[in-house]
Amino acid sequence: MNLEKEQVIVDTILQKAPYAEGKVRRQRRIEFKIPADRIRDFLTLLKENNFESMMQITAVDWPKDGEIELVYQMWSYTYAVHAFVKTRIPRDVDKAKVPSVRDIYPVAETYERDAHEFYKVTFEGNDKLEMPWILEDEDREAGVSHRKDFDMLSYVKRKYKLLDRFEEDKENYVI
């Protein structure tokens, strides 16, 4: 498998961004790891280097490490290469902050709203985060729904009053 093109892209970007770690994963997939406070610099650099489009921002919760991993997935139409840009931020709700990149990639606004609603990651500089998105108010108050420590079973029971209903007419249930 010829990986020259990918290697050249990774080398060019690493030369301009010494704070990053990068590697070629396979054909047309490259990966970078960067500190969270340099995300704006790095994505600006990627945009200058023909990564025109942002595919999505994924938040992955790692409670064991006490961290949330943000994966910015970038696509270059010029090189036909997909770049994973990974960064880790603390998991505490007060500290889970990262600068917003919506002025660099306007589409990021939508994905940032998504990550904020489901993972409580605050993107500083995005004023649309608190706007109503997919969840309703009562669901939002129940906790951070997509994090690993969210107790889905008790939430479902509470929300649909399954336990109460069961307790009320226990005699009618045939189990």
Binding site: Y77, A80, H82, P106, Y111, E136
Partner: protein
């Protein structure tokens, strides 16, 4: 003729109170029950029949697929994730399976690759027919809409023979496909259907795509340019209608696409008409691809990787790591990002629907200044699939 200002002055002199003109807007709730919105809701601020501001509100499904997927074994997620987009359920199956294949390090057998490619193309054709139906109905060309629905029915019947289900197929699985093709009779039927539809495309042209009404209703409506589309992350036919030759099948090839010969239709105008015509040309190319695949014929061999798979569902484990796979669907670039921690369930699955890019910010910006009558047309020309956004 008396001007508006004079009327207002006269009314004020007679002691009538009038609201200032700039506040003379009203809010219109468009959807989710409106036919054109497809369980998607817009709040439109209107001035007369012009849209001043649009706010998109996609949260009407509340299904939480991504969270549910973390609670289910690897294989059973297929039956969950395909419900993301109803007109094209094979795409989420395929991308999830391709990502899991990459994590497992599996080389999918050639026969399975052929079947997967055929199924994906059939899904694209039936999704384009579904879109043609929607567009024809919104333009009032009901004949073409009913034809499209009827032709799509033929593909549904073929899917039923192949997979046992009409809409939700649950067919592509990690490592191949769930079962083999029914036999040569099915291949002949597919060939007949493709030839029949190819013949009937002329009728679609006559009635819908070369229709005076279509041109009048779509030309110059909802225009977006190349730079705007790229910045907003628009993909698929919507991006190709602005002049970007972007197709995942061409420059991130998967399955059998590198061996197939097809063109990527591109138009420059970026309006609703260009988007409609790109889809029309795509339909033709897809039929051409299906013809080539049928000519090639399914290679012999196994149709899935030999492994414990279904026999050991709860114990089936995937090595730790992450993978991203994407395909070109009828709506655009559909991707799946799968993270595994080595367990018997996915650690995180995120599906990247194409509609999340052009369904929120793009619509909010394209609708500003549009007439109320054009709102459904713009919505349909972008080919939104709201479940993509609210997954």
């Amino acid at each position: 003729m008396v001007s508006q200002q004079e009327l207002i002055r006269e009314a004020r002199e007679n002691g009538m109170e009038l609201l200032p003109l700039e506040k003379d807007t009203y809010e219109l709730f468009f959807g989710p029950q409106h036919m054109a919105t497809e369980n998607y809701s817009l709040i439109l601020k209107m001035d007369g029949h012009r849209v001043v501001k649009a706010i998109a509100n996609p949260g009407f499904l509340h299904r939480g697929f991504e969270k549910l997927a973390e609670y289910r074994p690897w294989y059973t997620n297929i039956a969950l994730l395909l419900r993301i987009c109803v007109p094209e359920p094979d795409v989420p199956e395929a991308i999830y399976s391709m990502a899991v294949d990459e994590l497992m390090g599996w080389e999918v057998p050639e026969r399975a690759q052929w079947i997967r490619t055929t199924v994906l193309e059939m899904a694209r054709v039936s999704a384009y027919l579904f879109w043609t139906m929607g567009m024809a109905f919104k333009l009032g060309v009901y004949t073409a809409g009913q034809w499209a629905a009827a032709y799509r029915e033929r593909f549904m019947a073929l899917f039923e023979q192949l997979t046992g289900a009409r809409v939700y197929h649950i067919y592509t699985i990690p490592g191949g496909v769930r079962r083999d093709i029914p036999g040569d009779k099915w291949l002949r039927q597919l060939k007949d259907t493709v030839e029949y539809l190819k013949d009937k495309l002329k009728d679609f042209d006559n009635v819908l795509f070369e229709n005076y009404i279509t041109f009048k209703r779509l030309e110059g409506i909802g225009v977006m340019d190349k730079k705007f589309a790229l910045e907003e992350g628009v993909t698929g036919p919507n991006l190709r209608a602005t002049g970007v030759r972007a197709d995942v099948r061409k420059f991130d090839p998967y399955l059998l696409y590198p061996e197939l010969d097809f063109e990527v239709p591109v138009l420059r105008e970026g309006d609703s008409l260009a988007r409609a015509l790109v889809r029309r040309f795509e339909l033709e190319q897809d039929l051409y691809i299906l013809e080539q695949l049928l000519e090639m014929g399914p290679p012999s061999g196994p149709y899935k990787v030999e492994h414990a798979g279904f026999k050991a569902l709860p114990r089936f484990k995937v090595p730790a790591g992450d993978a991203y796979a994407h395909v070109e669907s009828s709506k655009g670039d559909f991707g799946a990002y799968v993270v595994s921690d080595g367990g018997n369930k996915p650690y995180r699955v995120q599906i990247r629907g194409p509609s999340i890019a052009h369904g929120i910010r793009v619509i909010e910006q394209l609708l500003v200044g549009a007439r109320l009558a054009d709102v459904p047309v713009i919505l349909v020309s972008l080919d939104n699939c709201p479940p993509d956004i609210d997954r």
